[in-house]
């Protein structure tokens, strides 16, 4: 806590300002924000407890959810746990990225421009903070889920817990980019209220909340173009152990590219104007 500690961080231009003091304070801010914590940690856990712990799911193979012919390595409950973890991580990283909106509205990003902090460093810090919040969300869902004892991987496939969690967390980077994009698009203190609705909509559209194979053909076709679709397929593919479609990767990478491009474009416009 000593002020002298801050002097130890001697940034150089370029990535100046990415230091433990800044990251520590940013994370403390997150922990203080009750609304963000409810969104990112409590909501996905409660959703999983509500929809994923039905005792009948314990003995059902996850292959049934997606209509896969070969048996999966997990039960339905485990499948739903990964779904809710992805939803939570997506909410968390979007909220983390969208913090730039609040900081622009409060004039903080302008204030930072009269310090040596480079705009690129600022975006990197915000992404790191978003990913920390995303990781906390993933851990919360996996830990609480496993404590219920209902989700289950087949014998010999326990490592899939870690593989699935890692896929969810890395995949959430797409939504950190979405958060930054929206954060630069809408300078508002209430951007998360809007983003909560957007996230629910794209999660439904991408088949995260219900089995897409039971939906109308037109909805299935539309789903393939939405941002949650590819990730939804990718994060479940390790525990399903079925066929792999390269188009899932294309979907996820394309949306990531779109959000990053949008964020970079608006960020450049922003730093020019301010």
């Amino acid at each position: 806590m000593s002020a002298i500690a801050a002097k130890d961080a001697r940034p150089t231009r370029g990535l100046a300002g990415i230091n433990p003091t800044v990251l520590g304070i940013e994370i403390r801010r997150l922990l203080r924000n009750r609304r963000t914590l409810i969104f990112a940690l409590i909501l996905p856990v409660v959703l999983f407890l509500f929809v994923g712990t039905n005792k009948s799911y314990a003995n059902l193979n996850a292959a049934g959810v997606v209509g896969q012919a070969t048996p999966a390595h997990a039960n339905v409950s485990a499948y739903l746990l990964v779904s809710m973890a992805l939803y939570g991580a997506a909410l968390a990283t979007t909220a983390g990225g969208a913090m730039v909106s609040i900081e622009r509205a409060q004039g903080w990003s302008r204030q930072l421009r009269i310090t040596p902090l480079s705009p690129t460093s600022y975006i990197i810090i915000k992404t790191m903070v978003a990913m920390v919040l995303g990781l906390a969300s993933v851990i919360a869902v996996f830990v609480v889920g496993s404590l219920t004892g209902v989700p289950h991987m087949l014998p010999g496939f326990s490592y899939l817990w870690f593989v699935s969690a890692a896929c969810v967390w890395i995949g959430a980077l797409v939504f950190a980019a979405l958060g930054l994009f929206i954060g630069y698009l809408l300078p508002s203190e209430n951007v998360m209220q809007f983003l909560g609705l957007v996230m629910a909509a794209i999660s439904f559209a991408g088949g995260l909340f219900y089995p897409l194979n039971q939906a109308a053909k037109i909805l299935q076709d539309i789903a393939k173009w939405t941002p949650m679709y590819g990730l939804n397929q990718l994060v479940h593919s390790p525990l399903l152990g079925g066929t792999f479609d390269f188009m899932w990767v294309v979907n996820a990478v394309a949306w990531f590219a779109i959000f990053v491009t949008g964020a970079v474009w608006l960020f450049r416009r922003d730093t020019k104007r301010v």
């Binding site: 002020a3 002298i4 801050a6 002097k7 961080a9 001697r10 940034p11 231009r13 100046a16 300002g17 230091n19 003091t21 800044v22 304070i25 403390r28 801010r29 203080r32 924000n33 900081e103 409060q106 004039g107 903080w108 302008r110 204030q111 930072l112 421009r113 009269i114 310090t115 040596p116 902090l117 301010v274």
Partner: protein, 333 residues
């Protein structure tokens, strides 16, 4: 010649050097050809009404925006480099703080961004907010938030401190306390440039006043010199059938206003105007009043001075780009 000049270290580049600076926003020319130099150790007020170009100029000095043409240098280097090396820092207008951080966290965050910074405890003390270090920024009063911005600006221990309308929205007591802290700090030899539209602030705290209007410097000098610019008298009299053209050529008269039977003559030599009116016309009920800095400010910055309609007609308004008093600060280069 002014005293501050002697404080300037010989040979060093000026703290701020603006050359023919222009800034256009679409249709609006916010800054139209500003050339000025501020030497080390000066305390300078950038005075002008809203829209005069104060904030636009400061933004360019801080590298927050780029000039449309002309050049800005701070200690002989680019503004961005001066910020990075901590040689210049600023207290910007309202905003710029995160409500969910504490006062101490805000300073610690900012301090960590600089290569070297003064201890947080020290700047909090110098800004007089040690007692509220653990308070959330959102719960601080406007005056406390402004002191926090001041504390943040002190962190890099800058040679040049820039304040953009620092006391807007503060009560009288808050303003006095804030300026006492700035004044105390400036005694250590820091160069200070502040923008304000409060005349009394410029008069009380600056060694030098630069008066802006429509993006150009209209006067530049000590408070006394700026006052003297418009230090003439207003002669008021009742005169039946006044002839404006005749009154205008009275020696010493600068501008003439006729309101029915009442004649208002702004003059640099009130006595000779009064003498003329009493001796050569049928004027009566004659009154002579002095102008204060307030009037100098109005005279030099207002759009509608005198009856001519053209704001630049009166003699006390210098032509564009030619300040009425040219300070020689920084002239030792």
């Amino acid at each position: 010649m002014r005293i501050e000049k002697e404080l300037q270290p010989a040979g060093g580049p000026p703290a701020i050097d603006l050359r023919d600076l222009h800034k256009n926003f679409k249709q609006v020319q916010a800054v139209r050809g500003m050339t000025l130099s501020i030497a080390s150790g000066e305390i300078v007020a950038l005075l002008g009404p809203n829209g005069a170009g104060k904030t636009t100029t400061i933004d360019m000095v801080l590298g927050l925006s780029q000039p449309s043409s002309g050049s800005v240098s701070v200690y002989g280097i680019q503004p961005r480099q001066a910020i990075d090396s901590g040689r210049v820092s600023a207290v910007l207008q309202t905003g710029g703080l995160l409500k969910d951080l504490t006062v101490e966290e805000t300073c610690r965050y900012t301090a960590s961004l600089f290569p070297t910074a003064r201890p947080v405890d020290e700047v909090l003390q110098r800004a007089g907010i040690s007692g509220i270090a653990d308070r959330r920024v959102g719960k601080c009063s406007g005056g406390e938030q402004q002191r926090l911005r001041f504390a943040m600006a002190l962190l890099p221990d800058p040679e040049l401190l820039i304040l953009d309308e620092p006391t807007t929205g503060m009560d009288v007591e808050g303003r006095r306390g804030f300026w006492a802290a700035i004044r105390q700090d400036a005694e250590r030899g820091r160069t200070v440039l502040f923008a304000t539209h409060y005349l009394e602030e410029a008069d009380a705290y600056a060694d030098r006043i630069i008066l802006l209007r429509h993006g150009v410097v209209v006067a530049d000098g000590t408070s006394a010199e700026v006052k003297a610019l418009a230090a003439g008298r207003t002669v008021r009299a009742t005169l039946h059938g006044a002839d404006e053209a005749e009154l205008r050529i009275i020696p010493g008269a600068e501008s003439v206003e006729i309101r029915g039977e009442t004649v208002l003559i702004h003059a640099n030599d009130g006595d000779s105007v009064a003498r003329y009116l009493l001796n050569s016309t049928s004027a009566r009920d004659l009154e002579i009043t002095a102008r204060a800095l307030e009037d100098a400010f109005v005279a030099l910055t207002s759009d509608s001075v005198g009856p001519g309609g053209d704001p630049r007609t009166p003699a006390d308004i210098p032509a564009e780009g030619q300040p009425a008093v040219t300070s020689q600060a920084g002239g030792s280069r």
